[in-house]
Symmetry: C2
Subunit: 423 residues, 2 copies
């Protein structure tokens, strides 16, 4: 029998009414002849409430206990979803991450899935039951302590279970209708993308699209699990994320799939670095040791007179202060002149597998941005992506200009609620 894994985010199970609606959707899938495994997040605000309680008790909660506390959230939602399904006359059994066989590393708050051993899930499916599994959580391999997976954890749980159970597809439900060609809050004429490749989705996720988390897409690509990203509030089809995008109805794939943006980065420029072998390496080794993820790097051509250069890079703004501290410690050793910090920047990225075979995309992108009066501060490219750093206040203009230039605008404006899925 075909097996579908469904994942419902916090807004889809926010209260009793939402849970009953989700239960009907699950039962409909079962009635249609599928085996169904459902992964749920915690209800709406539960996680925030638990975090708030922890904060009232201690400023520095130990990771082990924080995970124990937070995993109560999915425990509640999964039991309630199972009850709601029972009320519709179908058998549902709920399982914690540990019971579902989600084995992880021991890094509390940000554990990685090592293995999934879904023996109990398979048994329940064989009994004809619908399985409800707690997302976002697992059990550490050696200590047997309860862990949580960090951001995007519930999506990753769903994909990992889909892979372990050899599922036919994994549906990711949230409060948005799918992946759009741009954030509809910025570009009201943005269109839903019907199908997109894992590679493009990875680039979009890495460049600020918050609908799917990078880890989840990587996992799906590795195991070839088709993802269907859709809304639990409507019956509309969403976006399929698959390995190969078929060309349908004689139409070629568009050159560009979408325009992503990200306001969470900051830019650091190290001014007047002596242009000697190993100096840049020293800077980035020090940042790596402080566990800071660097995104884009640009090194200017060295000024002949001084034999010094400027090195600019971007990083998550939340790591800004840590990075500045790490760099300042190196100032005497490396002998650079000064550091400039700017968190009023944004990244705008053009993503599309089609750009491989179309030269001139970069030029058109830069032209469109320039015509919109936006100055480009940094550039970085991959085979299927071009990203630029611009002033934060000009992000919207740049996104809109690129969206129009590559004919992504829809004739009709779809009304969507576009929100991030936390876990």
């Amino acid at each position: 029998m075909a097996l579908i894994v469904q994942k419902y985010g916090g807004s889809s199970v926010a209260d009793a009414e939402a849970i009953k609606r989700v239960a009907q959707r699950i039962v409909a899938q079962k009635k249609a002849g599928y085996d169904v495994v459902v992964v749920v997040s915690a209800m709406g605000d539960t996680t925030d409430e638990l975090l708030d309680l922890a904060e009232q008790v201690t400023p520095l909660p130990p990771g082990r206990e924080m995970d124990m506390l937070l995993t109560a959230g999915e425990r509640m939602s999964m039991a309630l979803v199972a009850m709601a399904i029972g009320n519709l006359g179908y058998e549902a059994r709920s399982f914690t991450g540990s019971q579902a066989g989600v084995i992880t590393t021991a890094l509390h708050g940000n554990a990685k899935i090592i293995d999934v051993t879904p023996g109990r899930i398979q048994e329940a499916l064989d009994d004809g039951a619908i399985c409800i599994v707690a997302g976002f959580q697992g059990v550490a391999e050696d200590s047997k302590d309860i862990t949580t997976l960090g951001r995007g954890g519930s999506d990753t749980t769903a994909v990992a279970l889909a892979a372990a159970l050899n599922a036919d597809a994994c549906e990711i439900y949230s409060d948005v209708d799918g992946i759009f060609t741009a954030d509809p809050r910025i570009v009201p004429s943005a269109r839903r993308i019907p199908t997109i490749s894992y590679e493009e989705m990875l680039e979009l996720a890495a460049c600020g699209s918050k609908i799917l988390h990078l880890r989840c897409v990587e996992y799906a690509r590795r195991y070839g699990i088709p993802l269907h990203v859709r809304s639990s509030f409507s019956q509309k089809p969403g976006t399929w994320v698959v390995s190969e995008v078929e060309e349908t109805e004689g139409m070629e794939q568009p050159i560009i799939s979408g325009v992503a943006h990200d306001r969470s980065e900051a830019k650091i420029t190290v001014v007047g670095v002596p242009d000697r072998v190993g100096e840049a390496a020293a800077l980035f080794t020090s940042l790596a040791e402080a566990e800071i993820n660097i995104d884009m790097i640009v090194q200017n051509v060295s000024a002949v007179a001084t034999n010094r250069t400027d090195i600019s890079f971007t990083l998550p703004a939340t790591h800004g202060q840590t990075a500045l501290n790490a760099l300042k410690k190196l100032q005497d050793q490396v002998g650079f002149e000064s550091i400039r910090y700017d968190d009023q920047v944004g990244k705008v990225s053009l993503v599309g597998a089609g750009m491989r075979s179309y030269p001139g995309v970069t030029a058109r992108f830069f032209d469109a941005i320039a015509n919109a009066g936006v100055n480009i501060e940094m550039i970085s490219t991959s085979e299927i992506r071009i990203s630029v750093i611009v002033e934060e206040g000009q992000v919207d203009a740049a996104v809109a200009a690129a969206h129009t230039e590559f004919q992504l605008d829809s004739d009709q404006v779809e009304a969507v609620v576009y929100g991030g899925t936390g876990r």
Copy 2:
């Protein structure tokens, strides 16, 4: 090293402030040189809130899922208590019932503890950590499903862990100062009982005293675990429940330990039962098959003229309707005349190991009640207890009269809050 097991009820961990206060008490015990294992209930109203959520989703929640839902409650409180202890500079690790090795039967909502295998607890204690264990919950032996223990479950968890870990004592904390000679809300001059035997405590618990649950006391008696029942809101000593009450300071033990009462029962009278062998048995077999617990039974002397008799018995009022239905089905077969039902009754019980060696206690008890103008409807006795059924409105008068007659009144009235502990 000496080991103490402490149990804190829901009111003791009702909010962040209460949790921090409890953490200080736990750390004080640790500082005093003890190994400490703590069993916690769910915070204040959590259980009610979860029950309410379940009710919004379905009128008939499956037991398995209800247990999954409710066990989220202790998961939260135990993690928060562990965090609060960490904040005081001591290491605490929390464990679910399953992790603590509480193995139970599979009867969801009312599972019985079969075995306790506290390997992980012992390991954590050996590491010098304080252990926080979720009360009220366990894991079913065969299915590995999560179970809850029903009423008094957290106390029972504490005593079972104390037995398995060979603890020196088990402290049961709630919002009352101990066991009293009567309910202080009815008898303001009631005194705290410093020490009481398991046998007497069992009788008090069976007769309506809500401070300790029968199962917990039975468990403590079986394994000889001294219980200390006390308040988490004060440093006062509470009541010790032990196997032998030592006679101290040349004082003999009082004849009577306390007066208990219970308003939760109902009385059923089956009128005109043919006085033939097996008719009463047929009635009670039918009630047993409906899983109704009968408390007291009185069969009147048969009337010579009709050769018929009346049979009265008491039972929990919550089972009243079920019992009436079961009996009505037998009316034609047995041939009794009618059924009378009365839930406006109360039971008043005098408990004391001393009554074994003092004749005349029964007479004094009945006299005192009669002098208070209270009519006795039924009587039942054990070796260390006398119980009477009276009209519900006269319970207070009967309790007060008995309390005074056996010189249990204190010179000074203690101010106590006297509340039941749900789990």
